[in-house]
Amino acid sequence: MWHPVEASRLSYTFGSGRVARHVLSEVNITVRRGEIVILTGPSGSGKTTLLSLIGALRAVQRGNCRVLGHELRGSSEAMRTALRRRIGFVFQDHQLLDFLTARQNVAMGLEHDHACGETDRVRRAITILRNVDLGQGMDLRPQQLSGGQRQRVAIARALVRDPDLLLADEPTAALDRQSGAEVMDLISGLARGRGLAVLIVTHDSRILNVADRVVAMEDGRVGAMLGEHVKNAQNCRPAV
């Protein structure tokens, strides 16, 4: 039986020759079904690069990265594109399309679903928006919503397709304490309810308590001592 994320000896280098910069070195990480893993570490430690490799947003250079049962090393662009449709993404600054309403942004996530007609798309978008407590803001454009509401729409867009894996990059970075806590409660609640694997990259130590595991990274490696912390890791912050 495979796990949603299985990366082993994963390495990645930007540039080549004298300007080459190794951002990931021999990284091993696994995320199990229904598990929430938080990836933390200082800026430049390789967290986001690791997330983009797992999200099939970049081609794997060295090592192995198996996501949702598909080996990404040597995979084609078309295969990675198809795989991304099974992954939910929550970006740091929500990345909503500013010319679409909240409902249309969420429904966009379903346009790949050939079995889903226009009415079903809208109905599912409305349902998920209501689940993230945005029942009344669904016909507003992103610029008419608060930061917390935008992030809720982004979460709704990520989850509307019932993904098997949710990847979130600093989902609380642009939010105040309360909004951040609400967003994390939302992610953890929905994730646990649906049993999906969640990998969150964050600097925000306030949200570490939602994780089943906290993985610390430094200089492109998963630290040997800090490798994996147990839940409630906010009391034992990575010594990086």
Binding site: L57, R84, F89, D98, Q104, R130
Partner: protein
């Protein structure tokens, strides 16, 4: 408690937790291939000012191209108005004649020789000249085209000519072309008052006995029609033996090609025997190929399309640049590069349609206005509209294809 219920097959009503019950409006089923078109439209609609600028650019290009092609077609149409009206199956012209307005003379004797060929039943010499016409009201002079021929031979089909043939056989009588430019004077109105009008051509007094309809051309602002005898009196420098062309009428059922072959074999090489279509084609070809006019209109049409393409390219390029992060997000969400290409191409096609419609409406108004002012037969034909629409779509698609390079910069990895 909130519920989502489907009230009608194409409508969703949403019951909100605050008790309000709202309909989301009609939800039309969108075929899968049209989903990029819908996204393109939503994107365009969000930036109203930019959309208006783009539509104005396409409309401008459409208007320019339609006007250029309209003028071009009017030129050719007016250029052949006279030869088109001449009745005959075959025509004798001088081989050196490139266009009738600057003809090389044909010896009139060739008309008599042609009558010797079996199948030819009539040969009508037609004389052309340009002389000065004096406006009877203002006294100003303007060059007018004189058309002289045997008015009883029914050689030229012109509305109004048939009822004037007896009057025109009298010496120094002419029929005025009522479609001539107004600078020649309000001749139809003056005729309506008195029935006859004294006028002056080449410093000789003539009597205008009525009006016919032929139309202006690029080389003639107006026309007067008269008998051969009157023509010789008004243009004494033109020998009677020198004619512009000879119209030949053939017996019913005669083989035109065969008669033409015989005529060409019989007559000396100082005449060319042409069928009616060949005569019209020769006249059109002169304006199209042997004067800069055809090239100028073609060039202006191409320039208009180029300007339109640059405008659309600028708009699309700015649009793609501004939405690059959005496109990268869509790629991250699993949308293919091809899908995004279709969005940009759909934007181009939408702009083409939105810009073409007002462009055609404006062109239709200008055709009428300019056509009346310039006395040109500007006609917005469905064929020309279809051709210009295809050109405008091609122009927008070409601009979109250039923009697609920018789309490659949308990197899904950049959104993390």
């Amino acid at each position: 408690m909130t519920t989502v219920a489907r009230a009608r097959p194409d409508r969703i009503r949403v019951s909100f937790s605050d008790g309000q019950d709202r309909s989301l409006g009609a939800l039309w089923p969108v075929p899968r291939p049209l989903l990029p078109v819908r996204l393109a439209w939503r994107q365009l609609r969000a930036e109203r000012a930019r959309l208006v600028a783009a539509v104005a650019g396409v409309m401008f290009a459409t208007l320019l191209v339609l006007m250029q092609l309209g003028f071009r077609a009017a030129l050719f149409q007016t250029a052949v108005a006279l030869p088109q009206a001449i009745q005959g199956q075959l025509f004798l012209i001088n081989p050196l004649t490139e266009a009738l307005f600057r003809y090389e003379p044909v010896p009139r004797i060739r008309a008599y020789q042609a009558l010797a060929v079996p199948g030819v039943i009539a040969a009508v010499p037609i004389y052309l000249a340009q002389e000065s016409w004096r406006n009877p009201l203002t006294g100003t002079h303007r060059v007018i085209q004189l058309i002289g021929f045997d008015v009883k031979a029914n050689a030229i089909a012109m509305p109004g000519l048939a009822r004037l043939t007896d009057l025109l056989t009298q010496r120094d009588t002419v029929a005025f072309d009522s479609l001539s430019r107004p600078e020649f004077g309000p001749i139809p109105e003056l005729l309506a008052q008195d029935g006859r009008l004294k006028a002056e051509i080449a410093d000789r007094e003539v009597t205008v006995v009525g009006t016919v309809k032929l139309g202006t051309t690029f080389d003639a602002d107006g026309n007067v029609v008269m008998s051969q005898t009157t023509f010789q009196r008004l243009v004494p420098g033109n020998p009677e033996s020198d004619v512009a062309l000879v119209a030949l009428r053939l017996k019913d059922g005669a083989d035109v090609a065969e008669v033409r072959k015989r005529l060409q074999a019989l007559l000396p090489p100082d005449v060319l025997v042409l069928t009616h279509p060949a005569l019209l084609q020769r006249e059109t070809r002169y304006w199209d190929k042997e004067t800069p006019i055809g090239v100028i209109f073609d060039f202006c049409s191409v320039m208009a399309l180029m300007v339109g393409m640059v405008i659309v390219y600028q708009i699309l390029f700015t649009d793609v640049s501004n939405h690059l992060r959005g496109y990268a997000t869509l790629k991250a969400l699993g949308f293919s590069h091809g899908y995004l290409q279709r969005v940009v191409l759909a934007e181009a096609c939408i702009l083409a349609c939105l810009g073409y419609v007002p462009g055609q409406v404006a062109a239709a108004w200008l055709y009428r206005y300019v056509g009346q002012a310039a006395r040109l037969p500007l006609e917005l034909t469905s064929g020309r509209c279809s051709a210009v629409f295809a050109l405008v779509v091609a122009m927008c698609v070409a601009a979109a294809l250039l923009t697609l390079r920018k789309l490659r910069e949308a990197d899904p990895a950049s959104v993390f």
